[in-house]
């Protein structure tokens, strides 16, 4: 067995493990009644997604996933959950109405449709291999694309963040009557 085969086998193991963890964690996130438990399971799902990005050679996005999603956004969500003392849903009769069942059923049909579309898809593994693939997702090459070809969208994204910041401050400020 040469080095390349070990690499591929290792990637299979990592992919299957973290994919399983991601699906289980997101299922737990949807089904937990306590919002804090949901938030913590979602963080687990985000971390395993970051590992999956690493198997795709997207190092920069994997780190950004951990910092932006698992760090910043989830911290914000947990803060708001703690600010708002939530009534736990189960105390208000655990109702499963017809509408919810129909909605979930239609969503499962959506999943089957995507699966059917994938069967007619030619497929194939990553085209870039070896050294090229490892270089593709590095911070340097993503940065060159962001500050070169995508400079204008990048600036617009920074304005969007500024607007979001100002909007959040204005919304959360108490108005004195």
């Amino acid at each position: 067995m040469d080095v390349g085969a070990i690499d591929v086998a290792f990637r299979w193991v990592v992919f299957s493990l973290s994919g399983l963890v991601a699906i289980v964690a997101s299922l737990m996130m949807v089904t937990r009644r306590n919002p804090i438990h949901s938030a913590l399971w979602l963080i687990v799902a985000f971390f395993s997604l970051a590992v999956i990005y690493l198997t795709l050679h997207a190092q920069f996005i994997a780190i950004a996933q951990v910092m932006v999603y698992a760090g910043a956004i989830m911290m914000l969500i947990i803060f708001v959950i703690m600010l708002i003392q939530l009534e736990i849903e189960s105390t208000r009769k655990g109702r499963i109405t017809g509408g919810k069942v129909i909605g979930a059923f239609i969503t499962v049909i959506l999943f089957l449709e995507i699966g059917a579309a994938l069967f007619s898809f030619p497929g194939g593994a990553s085209k870039a291999s070896g050294e090229v693939a490892t270089q593709m997702g590095s911070v340097a090459s993503v940065g060159i694309a962001l500050y070169g070809k995508y400079l204008f969208p990048f600036e617009i994204a920074s304005i969007l963040l500024l607007v979001g910041l100002v909007g959040a401050v204005v919304l959360a400020k108490r108005r004195q009557e």
């Binding site: 050679h57 932006v68 956004i73 708002i84 994938l118 898809f121």
Partner: protein, 103 residues
């Protein structure tokens, strides 16, 4: 000798995550949990972008995911501020009871 991981598997995983998120949006009534489910759906879309970009040997998928993350961060800040405001006004964030825009 094992084959490389086919991209279809990544697409299936992304579809599964998207579906789980969508089921959560439909069945849960707590606005913050609905919000977290939307974040999970965004992550499913991100995974599809990265898998497609890696399959085509292009960096554009990663750049697109970067912009999606920017939008998600702005959305989180604004959305959570709105939840705090609604909670101050109505004392609940159950999405069935928030009907301020109903005429």
């Amino acid at each position: 000798m094992l084959q490389e991981i086919p991209t279809s598997l990544y697409f299936m995983l992304s579809a599964a995550l998207f579906t789980i998120g969508a089921i959560g949006v439909i069945t849960r009534r707590n606005a913050i949990i609905v919000f977290m489910c939307i974040e999970l759906m965004l992550n499913g879309a991100n995974l599809a972008f990265i898998a497609a970009g890696s399959m085509l040997g292009s960096i554009d998928g990663m750049v697109f995911v970067f912009f999606i993350m920017t939008v998600a961060a702005a959305e989180a800040a604004i959305g959570l501020a709105i939840f705090v405001l609604i909670f101050r006004q109505k004392g609940t964030i159950n999405v069935d009871e928030i009907n301020l825009l109903k005429g």
